[in-house]
Structure formats: structure tokens, C-alpha cells
Symmetry: C2
Subunit: 154 residues, 2 copies
């Protein structure tokens, strides 16, 4: 996996949550171990296809964090992962991937973004099946954790 | 969503499971209701991007069914959803999408396939976020149920 792909996605998530939800996520230790699958209560998944490579991204949120994000963004907290939370996660995923896509385009890497898919269900596990290294980055905040998992074909 | 996209994926799943696992899946009633989300114990997700449209596909399996599929394909049943089952679901997803891609190409619809992502965790729910109709098709067999959920942008 091209290491140049990593920071645009990490920076884009931090930027989106900061500007849209006025919340600071602090990034933890990047892991490239194969058996560290992303776990979440709700996750947005999106794939990218480019002439040079293709890959996928998932952004997983603990329930308490995404509820607080929705509170900040939309002024309501539904208390559980409902249809509105699922919609929100889809939009956040679109924004994060879109932001990264723009940064990568400036660096010469062109990608088409697919449509996001949201998975919910407490402690589901996500495994990207790709011939390449998988990166997991945990994020922390006052309100809970999030995880980015990403990988691109070698 | 272009209705011509539906049957290639349904036929491809039936074909893959029949030829690779010697198992018959019978298709149920197609649903296009928005709130019928696919539920599974393990699901393969893959996105497709083409010049005319883009969309995503998920294939969700009940645990008992995918264990039986693995028994038939590889001669072993791990008794639970483990790494080998996750790998298998990724491969099945690749084969189903690849088969559909070929049928659609013959019909004049070109797509690039992304890399599959596998989600596990009992009764996770999948929601494809796309501006278009979402199709869910349930499949039944002697050993359990599967679901295809698919959608393409209008």
C-alpha cells in the first residue's frame, strides 16, 4: 500500500468531525497487523477505484461517539443507532472520502468514489479483503472511540 | 435503478453456490422497500463503478448456511465464523460480482469492481446509501438463508 494514501484519509476525518461537529478526535497508534479488525457499533464503508489502484475505507464509530456527533451537528440525540444515525454515518463517510479524494488528486492520484454503505449492529467486525497491507488507526475523544480501516491493493 | 442489473447478480449467486458448493439456493420474493435492511451473520460487500452509474452489492449469509457452504467447498466446518469463513465470503463475493460483471458487459454495461469487504457479527444490518431504489432478494436453502441487497444510482 502506498503510504501517501494514509494521511489524506486520517486528516479528512479529523477535519470533517472538527468542522461539522465541533469535536476534536485525537489519532492513536497506527496498526498494520492483519488480525486487528475494525470493530464498531456503526460503520461507514466506501470503496475507491483509480487507474493506479483500488481500495476501501471504513470508518467505525462507538455508539456513544456518533450520538454526540449527531447532537452537535443536528441538535438531537436519538439515544440509539436509528435510521437518522445511519444516514449521518453515510454522509460523514462520503465527506471524509471526498475530502481525501481531493487531497489525493492534488498529489496526482485520481480515484472514483463508490457509494457508501453503512453497517450497524453492535461490535460487528470489518475485514477488507485486498492484496495489500491494511491500516487501522484508532481515534479517541471525550465521547468515545472511532476507527479508520483502509487498504489499497499493492 | 435499471432493472436489467438485477438478474445478473441473482443468477450469479445461484450459479456460484451451485457450482462451487453443490448447493441449491431458491430465490424468494424481491423487495424494494426502503426499511427492509439486509441482516446477516456474515456479509460480503462490494462496490461497482461504471461510466453510466455506480452502486453496491451485499451478500449476507446466516451462519449455519455459510458453514455448510464451507463444508461442501473445502471439506471443513469450523463451527463458527472464523478467519477462514471470512476469507471464503470475500471470495464468494468476488466471484458473484465478477460473474455479474461479465453478464452485464455482454449487455453493454461496463463496470469496474472494487475490492470486497467482509462484515461479521451476528445480526448486523446493512444499509446502502445511494440515490436510487434498493433491492433485497432473500434466498433459502436446506441449510439456512442468504440475502442479496443491491442498489445502483439512478
Amino acid at each position: 500500500m502506498n503510504v501517501n494514501f494514509i494521511n489524506p484519509f486520517l486528516d479528512s476525518l479529523i477535519h470533517v468531525i472538527s468542522t461539522m461537529a465541533s469535536m476534536e478526535l485525537s489519532s492513536g497508534k497506527l496498526s498494520i497487523k492483519k488480525d486487528n479488525d475494525a470493530k464498531g457499533d456503526v460503520s461507514g464503508l466506501i470503496s475507491l477505484i483509480g487507474p493506479q489502484t483500488k481500495g476501501s475505507l471504513s470508518i467505525s464509530f462507538e455508539q456513544k461517539l456518533i450520538l454526540e456527533i449527531m447532537q452537535n451537528m443536528l441538535g438531537e440525540n436519538p439515544g440509539m443507532i436509528n435510521e437518522e444515525i445511519i444516514d449521518l454515518v453515510g454522509e460523514i463517510t462520503n465527506m471524509v472520502a471526498g475530502g481525501a479524494k481531493n487531497i489525493l488528486a492534488d498529489e496526482g492520484y485520481e480515484f472514483e468514489m463508490a457509494t457508501p454503505t453503512v453497517v450497524s449492529g453492535q461490535t460487528h467486525t470489518i475485514r477488507h479483503k485486498v492484496k495489500g497491507q491494511k491500516i487501522i488507526m484508532p481515534f479517541d475523544s471525550h465521547f468515545g472511540k472511532a476507527f479508520i480501516e483502509m487498504c489499497f491493493e499493492d
